[in-house]
């Protein structure tokens, strides 16, 4: 059974506890920030996809309207048959342009989907970190039991680490589920939009049989469609702006990994010191060194920007 620690050593343990809490707090804040960035990107992408879905729906309605109008017996009369070829040609050109715009939008969405996969990988890294932190916590708890009453401080720390790991893991899992759902949605939108786009030309050619009334009706739909597509453009631009922070997310995760490595080394050292304390050797200087190491780990802050606010331009 080990001997009781003196006042000096108890102070050193309190300092160590404080330093450890500092590292854990920074890690927790960084992971939370990373998740916020990823969640922000996901929300923007969701918004873009929703708008795209609305635009696609309007597109579908427009094509249906063409069919209904063209085949409606009420419209097949001499006045409609006299619709000018210029208007029809304009209609065809418009439809082709819309088709081209749709394909460009689809390309953008495909690119965003690829990026979403990269963000998923970041989520997996965060999961690994949480599992790793939990393992550190478990080891600390085991050794706390060995240290007896002298290890109460470590128990507090170990519980804190465990709380962080559990919270981090749950958040990562929720995020992963949301991202997966988003990817499924993306695949459906892509398939639908591609299908529509492939039918554009046939619809346009088909419409050559169409009549002036169809063109007039489509003018309104066309205007609505242009508005919708411009909204899609805006949403995608916002999404891409957020996704520019992929490298910042990577930096934060890398820093967290480094801090966890330091934590692992420090905990091993602390446990060795506990063993030395049981042998009644003074551990004050060694504990102070460990505290300094932890504080240095907490100060590892390479990433300065903390929000996705508007960027700046400086020309030299």
């Amino acid at each position: 059974m080990g001997s009781a620690w003196n006042v000096d050593e108890r102070d050193a343990v309190r300092e160590l506890d404080s330093a450890l809490q500092g590292v854990l707090a920074v890690n927790e804040a960084d992971l939370a920030r990373t998740k916020l960035l990823i969640a922000d990107a996901g929300a923007q992408l969701h918004s873009a996809l929703t708008t795209l879905a609305l635009a696609t729906d309007k597109y579908r309605q427009a094509l249906a309207l063409v069919e209904r109008t063209v085949y409606d017996p009420e419209h097949i009369d001499a006045s409609l048959a006299g619709a000018s070829s210029a208007l029809l040609s304009d209609f065809v050109r418009t439809m082709v342009r819309v088709s081209r715009d749709s394909m460009a939008t689809i390309e953008e969405v495909i690119g965003l989907g690829e990026q979403l996969s990269l963000l998923c990988k970041q989520g997996e890294i965060i999961d690994d970190l949480a599992v790793q932190t939990r393992q550190i916590s478990l080891n600390a708890r085991i050794e706390t039991q060995r240290a007896g009453t002298a290890g109460r401080t470590f128990e507090v720390v170990a519980n804190e680490v465990k709380r962080l790991a559990n919270g981090s893991l749950a958040l990562s899992q929720r995020m992963g589920a949301a991202v997966t759902a988003c990817q499924r949605h993306l695949a459906r939108v892509r398939a639908t939009a591609e299908d529509l786009a492939s039918n554009d030309m046939s619809a346009a050619v088909h419409a050559h049989r169409g009549l002036g009334a169809a063109i007039a009706l489509l003018d309104g739909v066309q205007r609505d469609l242009c508005v919708e597509l411009s909204q899609v453009d805006v949403c995608i631009a916002q999404t891409v702006r957020v996704l520019q922070f992929e490298d910042m997310v990577t930096q934060i995760v890398d820093l967290t990994i480094k801090r966890n490595e330091v934590l692992t080394r420090v905990l091993a050292r602390v446990l060795a010191l506990c063993g030395a304390a049981l042998g009644e050797r003074s551990i004050r200087p060694a504990l102070a060194e460990v505290s300094d190491t932890l504080r240095a780990a907490a100060e590892m802050t390479l990433v300065q920007q903390t929000s996705v606010a508007e960027g700046t331009v400086d020309l030299f």
Binding site: L118, R241, Q244, E246, D247, T312, V313, F316
Partner: protein, 127 residues
């Protein structure tokens, strides 16, 4: 006049976004994922402008910038730094190292286009 612009960033998404922005201006784009690949591209393709990230591995943006400036002046080959780092100290370091400009992400596409055109015209690059 159409120019070749080299975009250096370890994020494929950012490279893609910059490419789309610049191609809309009528320029060609070459991509590199880090400083080492960028130097090879510069030697082979001789771009008119380099747009580079800062935090990349194995060769970061500052190292790339210093290597470029060892051969090319600011007027001959302009370099714009495009990064999430917005600290004054790093900007000053970029200026001292020979960068022509410092752009903090997230960038606005139209603003990036204006900056690119401005830098290309004022430097007379690629001639």
């Amino acid at each position: 006049m159409t120019k070749l612009i080299l975009v250096v960033d370890d994020s494929a998404m950012v490279r893609r976004h910059v490419r789309l922005t610049i191609e809309k201006l009528g320029h060609f784009v070459e991509e590199a994922s880090d400083g080492t690949a960028a130097l090879e591209s510069i030697a082979k393709k001789r771009p008119a402008l380099v747009i580079s990230d800062v935090n990349m591995a194995p060769m970061d943006g500052f190292t790339l910038l210093s290597k470029i400036r060892a051969t090319y002046t600011r007027e001959v080959l302009p370099v714009l730094m495009l990064t999430t780092e917005g600290g004054d100290e790093l900007k000053a370091r970029g200026k001292t190292a020979g960068a022509n400009g410092w752009l903090v992400k997230p960038f606005d596409p139209s603003r990036l286009g204006d900056v690119v055109n401005h830098v290309l015209s004022s430097a007379g690059a690629g001639k």
